[in-house]
Amino acid sequence: MGLLSDPVRRRALARLVLRLNAPLCVLSYVAGIAWFLALVFPPLTQRTYMSENAMGSTMVEEQFAGGDRARAFARDFAAHRKKSGALPVAWLERTMRSVGLEVYTQSFSRKLPFPDETHERYMVSGTNVYGILRAPRAASTESLVLTVPCGSDSTNSQAVGLLLALAAHFRGQIYWAKDIVFLVTEHDLLGTEAWLEAYHDVNVTGMQSSPLQGRAGAIQAAVALELSSDVVTSLDVAVEGLNGQLPNLDLLNLFQTFCQKGGLLCTLQGKLQPQDWTSLDGPLQGLQTLLLMVLRQASGRPHGSHGLFLRYRVEALTLRGINSFRQYKYDLVAVGKALEGMFRKLNHLLERLHQSFFLYLLPGLSRFVSIGLYMPAVGFLLLVLGLKALELWMQLHEAGMGLEEPGGAPGPSVPLPPSQGVGLASLVAPLLISQAMGLALYVLPVLGQHVATQHFPVAEAEAVVLTLLAIYAAGLALPHNTHRVISTQAPDRGWMALKLVALIYLALQLGCIALTNFSLGFLLATTMVPTAALAKPHGPRTLYAALLVLTSPAATLLGSLFLWRELQEAPLSLAEGWQLFLAALAQGVLEHHTYGALLFPLLSLGLYPCWLLFWNVLFWK
């Protein structure tokens, strides 16, 4: 600090920052990317380990043997479902009661803001059925949840069968210390959301539902199950939840323990765990998994119904049975045993899961990168913005002092020239206009869908997406007009001040995002930072403009979709990609309204206006 308070050295340092700014920026950016890529190599990625004592050392013996029973339940369920065309509520109630549970139902209804074309639903009403296994000699203060989301199609019947068979098996045991809730939801995640909101007696998404008659205390952990075949080749585990929230790492460790114990083949992001981390192959394979996780987490979608539990601080994950073309297959008993083991160990918990990591990245099922190790990556990227802002600040400052400087040492206290004040005042208009554009982007598509459908031959969902794109594109044209209004005394100072403000705004936003959802922050920083640093109204403007458009939030989304499918080894064609992009836009808006996902407001109210500022800088006259 003494370095900075000494004017002479301060000036020397400032000169250094000014002169070496460009190389420092490049270096910092490269360091950030390199750090991220290095995360998959062993010193940075570590083996996972069980931190929770209550689940670590004790062994449990799984005795579940109800495979036939599960299949019979599944067959009956599927038949009744086919017959009634919806969730067979009465059958479920009867069956759950017959295995000895306390059974309750909850009806809910929700009108979506506009028709959901991916899931083909608009006015949704359904019924959740749940049975509670009351733990003996416990006062229903704590519970565990096993949930199966049922969609409109005929998937997940086997999951319901297994759930019922497990319930029957669990009911006969006396060691339960926590109540166990067996929950079957209709309309998959919408039902889960309705149930969770009613359970916690809140209403955050405008869901209309009947109050719950039976409760079971604070939910300690939840497991969502998705199974659509009698045999599985592997179990895939999904951890990413709403807004990039992750469950405690111990829950994943628990799953992995029972995968190993039962000899089950378990995958993460659909990828097998690489065995050899010492050679280059393992880390490269890990990098694929890691990138997939970053993309999924950045999307902020709940990847499975567990994702909605996380908002209520309930540790949860989704297990998906995969039936592919492998030789060796496992039946429902193996899956049931893994679940039984997990529930028995969760039953041992004395406290909520809290010992292990909540913020982590996974390059493999048994490898993780902790927050302390991955944060520097985004730190280096944000440093670029800081350096650039510092340079601009000094240039502005020097420009203010510049007139006296050739004349030798300035007299005591040079008052700030009035031009600087004008520079700041001139920022108000572009800031307000870009922010207003963001607001329009957030509000208008849903609000104006009916107007759009009246005047154009489009459906509501299309109308929303097209309005989104139209407003987005209109934002590019608008800012040209703003700076004609404002007086431009010192031409350079205007855009410099604007860029300075934009840089700080962007750095702050990305910093905040990276703290809560690293993946999203990192993804946006990787794309937006270089062009944000480059943007200026001189030089090859068309090149800059092209770059800026390519790194805008919407283009990032499009690019992410291509990368995502590429990593999944199912590359997209351009047309498919575009269709997927449009669907993703609609889903993003829908998920904001139905589940409270924050990606859409974040992009439209925060990053898009900020990006418009850079666009404004680029076309400054």
Partner: protein, 511 residues
């Protein structure tokens, strides 16, 4: 005569209880009773009651000879001038929706409520000491009762026994929802019984079976009662009750048949020789809508019909002579729906003081039929001091169950019966008239998660943070609030000014 007594005494002791009867009418008596109720859900509830009555003025000093009444409790009554004491330990939760209304309801955990005599000057002090003594007697953590979890209800918890005035200033009520009940609490409770667990109904109280159940609640109630019909003097009554619910699904493999042996792994062989009455009641009420017939084996000697909790019930009575293999039927189905906010009524609210006393909200409300009442309370979150966290802070913190006391209109009018003669299960709560019956319901305790700091290395974190803040804050504040510029030393004086003049003349920048 005085000379003859020392001689007579050894003889009387040898004769045993029978000898006492000859010498003088017994001043204390013991009745024991077991009620077995098949619950609507198919589970089976067993309620034990042991009632010791002592026609003695315990309040007066000088009572030194105890026979059936446990000395530990008797001394407690005189030392702390108790009027009533109600203590219950419960593991599990009575599920009214599935099991119907209970004879004896208790909240999960430990509950203690005490009425002191109006001669007590410092009620809080006596309360504190009493809870500590009880903690020792019952091996429970009752010593954690302090002002932060004690309240003085004004509307509920009226005295159950004789009372001429009910100034609620002498009432104290506390619940410890986290208290875990186990054999260590059962053993001292059993030791208070005159026959311990050697003979009579208490033979069935085997810990490993009792703690194999879905619900376990044991309680001690002490209260004064009328000694005779005209109520000229008082007697002391000690009731020890124990309710358990056996899970038919687990113990009976899903069947609804049960037997004493299957439930308790013991059969009854002999009555407690000290007891004046020892009975087993089995609820054999049949309802027409079920086509199930029930058969109790062996056939009961007598039956007893009464209106219990608003329903006419039939009980098979066994006067403790038989061991039974009994089939059962289900019933007793009263459901309570309480809904819709009240329009008027009595509301008493005593706000909490941080770390001194808890919130108390009492409402006297008239509930319309078939309605939903939702009572919600807004609260502010407050952070605990770091020393106030429990060793397992992530488990959460318990909020005590709330209590609902109600006089429910009876479906069938009960005929007035002799209180002293009626079975024990029907005579704990005083009945004003036959058209109502008293019900007390408890809700589940609530487990609330408070924001918890990371206790894994708080010290390091605090040190590091403080250092960083201390070092950076000062410097940054310094840098941000000052402007730095080089001050020309004025002491350069005349020579420098002259030099500068010359330099300016030459067109060279000044020094």
């Amino acid at each position: 005569m005085a000379a003859a007594m020392p001689l007579a005494l050894p003889v009387l002791l040898l004769l045993g209880p029978g000898g006492w009867c000859l010498a003088e009418p017994p001043r204390d008596s013991l009745r024991e009773e077991l009620v077995i109720t098949p619950l609507p859900s198919g589970d089976v509830a067993a309620t034990f009651q042991f009632r010791t009555r002592w026609d003695s003025e315990l309040q007066r000093e000088g009572v030194s000879h105890y026979r059936l009444f446990p000395k530990a409790l008797g001394q407690l009554i005189s030392k702390y001038s108790l009027r009533e004491l109600h203590l219950s330990f419960t593991q599990g939760f009575w599920r009214t929706r599935y099991w119907g209304p209970p004879f004896l309801q208790a909240p999960s955990g430990a509950e203690l409520w005490v009425w002191f005599q109006d001669t007590v000057t410092d009620v809080d002090k006596s309360w504190k000491e009493l809870s500590n003594v009880l903690s020792g007697i019952f091996c429970a953590s009752l010593n954690f009762i302090d002002s932060t979890n004690t309240v003085t209800p004004t509307a509920s918890f009226k005295p159950l026994g004789l009372a001429n005035d009910t100034d609620h200033y002498f009432l104290r009520y506390a619940v410890l929802p986290r208290e875990v009940v186990c054999t260590e609490n059962l053993t001292p409770w059993k030791k208070l019984l005159p026959c311990s667990s050697k003979a009579g109904l208490s033979v069935l109280l085997k810990a490993d079976r009792l703690f194999h159940t879905s619900y376990h609640s044991q309680a001690v109630h002490i209260r004064p009662v009328c000694r005779n019909a005209r109520c000229t003097s008082i007697s002391w009554e000690l009731r020890q009750t124990l309710s358990v619910v056996f899970d038919a699904f687990i113990t009976g493999q899903g069947k609804k048949d049960w037997s004493l042996f299957r439930m308790f792994s013991r059969t009854l062989t002999e009555p407690c020789p000290l007891a004046s009455e020892s009975r087993v009641y089995v609820d054999i009420t049949t309802y027409n809508q079920d086509n199930e017939t029930l058969e109790v084996h062996p056939p009961p000697t007598t039956t007893y019909q009464d209106v219990i909790l608003g329903t006419r019930k039939t009980y098979a009575i066994y006067d403790l002579l038989d061991t039974a293999m009994i089939n059962n039927s289900r019933n007793l189905n009263i459901q309570l729906k309480w809904k819709r906010p009240p329009e008027n009524g009595y509301i008493h609210y005593q706000p909490a003081q941080d770390r001194l006393q808890p919130h108390l909200l009492e409402m006297l409300i008239q509930l319309p039929a078939n309605s939903v009442t939702k009572v919600s309370i807004q609260f502010e979150r407050a952070l605990l001091k770091w020393t106030e966290y429990t060793p397992d802070p992530n488990h959460g913190f318990y909020v005590s169950p709330s209590v609902l006391s109600a006089l429910v209109p009876s479906m069938v009018a009960a005929k007035p019966v002799d209180w002293e003669e009626s079975p024990l299960f029907n005579s704990l709560f005083p009945v004003s008239d036959g058209s109502n019956y008293f019900v007390r319901l408890y809700t589940e305790p609530l487990l609330v998660n408070l924001p918890t700091p990371d206790f894994s290395m708080p010290y390091n974190v605090i040190c590091l943070t403080c250092t960083v803040v201390a070092v950076c804050y000062g410097s940054f504040y310094n840098l941000l609030t000052r402007t730095f510029h080089i001050e020309e030393p004025r002491t350069g004086g005349l020579a420098k000014r002259l030099a500068n003049l010359i330099r300016r003349a030459r067109g060279v920048p000044p020094l």
